[in-house]
């Protein structure tokens, strides 16, 4: 059972990673990051149920992750909107402020 959950999580993670690295639209990139986080959550829950020493810790941990991810998306979308207002675009490859 565990391996099918893990495979599922790995597939989700890879899709998320692919989206985060290749999509130009910042909203899609944010969504892909969420996808990666969720695949991690899936892992945590799977291990807490079917792992070698099952315990509730993993599930509680994933709750934390979900709430942190929600906060992160809130901040991320806020920044995105600010950027969109100043630049008139949401394309990730047009933002290279980190270079300066």
């Amino acid at each position: 059972m565990l391996s099918s959950y893990l495979t599922m999580a790995a597939i989700l993670f890879c899709i998320g990673l692919y989206g985060a690295l290749t999509k130009r639209n910042a909203v899609i990139v944010l969504m892909s990051v969420e996808l990666m986080l969720n695949s991690v959550n899936l892992n945590l829950v799977a291990f807490s149920k079917y792992g070698v020493v099952p315990s509730l810790t993993g599930q509680i941990f994933s709750l934390f992750t979900i709430s942190v991810a929600a906060a992160e998306v809130a901040v991320g979308v806020a920044i995105l909107i600010a950027l969109f207002r100043s630049r008139g675009s949401a394309n990730v490859d047009e933002f290279n402020e980190m270079r300066r």
């Binding site: 990673l17 985060a20 690295l21 290749t22 990139v29 990730v92 490859d93 933002f95 290279n96 402020e97 980190m98 270079r99 300066r100």
Partner: protein
Amino acid sequence: METVFSQYAWLVPVFPLAAFLILLAFGRGMKRTGPVIATLGSLASLVLSALVLIEQLGGADEYNNGFDWIQIGGYTLTVGFDVTNLTALMMVVVSLVAFLVNVYSIGYMKDDERISVFFAYVALFTCSMLGLVIADNLLMLYIFWELVGLCSFLLIGFWYYKPEAKAAAKKAFIVTRVGDVGFLIALLLLFWYMPDHDLSFAAIANVFGQTGLITEGITTLIAILIFLGAVGKSGQFPLHVWLPDAMEGPTPISALIHAATMVAAGVFLVARTFPIFEASPAALDTVAWVGAFTAIFAASIAIAQDDIKRILAYSTVSQLGYMMMALGLGSVTAAMFHLFTHAFFKALLFLGAGSVIHAVHTQNIHEMGGLGKTMKTTAWTFAVGALALAGIPPLSGFWSKDAILAEALHDHPALFAIGIAAALLTALYMSRLFFLVFAGKPRKGASGHESPAVMTVPLVVLALLAVVAGFVEMPFEGTGWFGEWLTGHAAAHEGTALVMLVSTAVGLLGIYLGWLIYVKGAIPRDAVTKRMPWLTRLLERKYYIDEIYHAVFVVSLRAIGRAFDAFDRHVVGGAVRLAGGAAVWTGRAATRMQNGQLQSYGLYAVIGLVILAAAIAGRRFW
């Protein structure tokens, strides 16, 4: 007899050292007083060394004192000084010539910008030379030996803005270095083989005086290597090439260093380590033949030179050859006697030449002439020096050259013949020089004027010495006290009358020939040139020795140097550039990677992660 002054003999080199230090510290502001300080320093040395000599002449005991300098394990390095008859005599010769040259230089160098530097160097030289003389062990002598070499280098290159002077200074330093390496190896060998590693002269005399302590092969090797050092310093063939070039230095320096004292240090060294040579007949033969060959070889070159100082330089080389020949014949007495008289008359000749150059501003003897009328003092003192050098009785050169020739006749007729031939050449080139410069009519309007008294007085003093210095050792019954006092052996006096007759006749013949050619014109000057142009050319070009050295050593060494340079430039430097270039190249690539695109950063991170994962996974299969 009590030794009163001898125990203070160590002060003799200290006076010029003090003068040197004062000039070094305050010299810049003392254009007037600086020379006086240096002169006073050498005067103090002269007075003290004269007192020591008088004491030694009075029969005082030899005196040796010193202290431990460095202790290395069980070995103690001592520093000390020796007062013997030989060193006392040398001290007086050195300090006397140094004092006179100092006085002379006050006049000669009067208008030079760097006069105090000059006097500082001269003072340092005087100190080192006196130190060399009184050193009681070979290592100390070696230190001072290098110091005089350094001073010689500094003073030859004193007019460093002249490219010839710079080149000559370098040449002198490098060529003498060849000999010094031999000396150093000899020193190491001695250190190795001597019992207790004792390098003092007393121990050397003691060890080599007994047979069997050190094998003959090693003895010969050490002797030859020491002689190599002497060959370099004393300008013997084949290392004579630096000495004529050294004439680019100021003339007083040529008189002091390159005629009277430093170049005689080689002779002094051999005389001081003579027990080693005595223990090896092969080494003695080498010394004798090298000396004899140098004597005639340099004399023949001197005939064809046009530069007044170069003629005197080759003459110095030739006379040093005589001294070496005397040493090789086993007569320290004759060698030191000739060194003693030569110091005076050759310093006189150089200072006279300096006086002439000072007046006419040229060194080419063909551009001089008729100076005898305008420069009376210079002319007659120069004549005295020239006659002494040519070996005309009763001047000092006659007696000392006779002593050498008598030794040669006694031991080795072939060397005697060479000595006589060299004497003929000596008389010929000196008369050529003298007649061209002082006789006849002035050429090219260079009439000249007499030099100031500060320059002529040293000439007169030296001329007097050149006359009387020979009387200390005359080959007559009851007059040869000098040799016995100096070395404990009386000089050989066999066949003296014959030697005296022959050498006088040869000297007079040489002068007569010179007179016929250069004054009367009975023999045309180009008689030899016309018939044998190659001979004149050969002599003018100094047997092409410089050219040969250039082709053999300079070119090949330069090629090796180029090869090493190329290796350094391309291989070593290439590796360094590669390392640097790799860092720069990596930096450039990293700069390109940092493009501000978050997604590419993510990609790099993923690639890194994949590589790490692959590496960890791959390790399993190892």
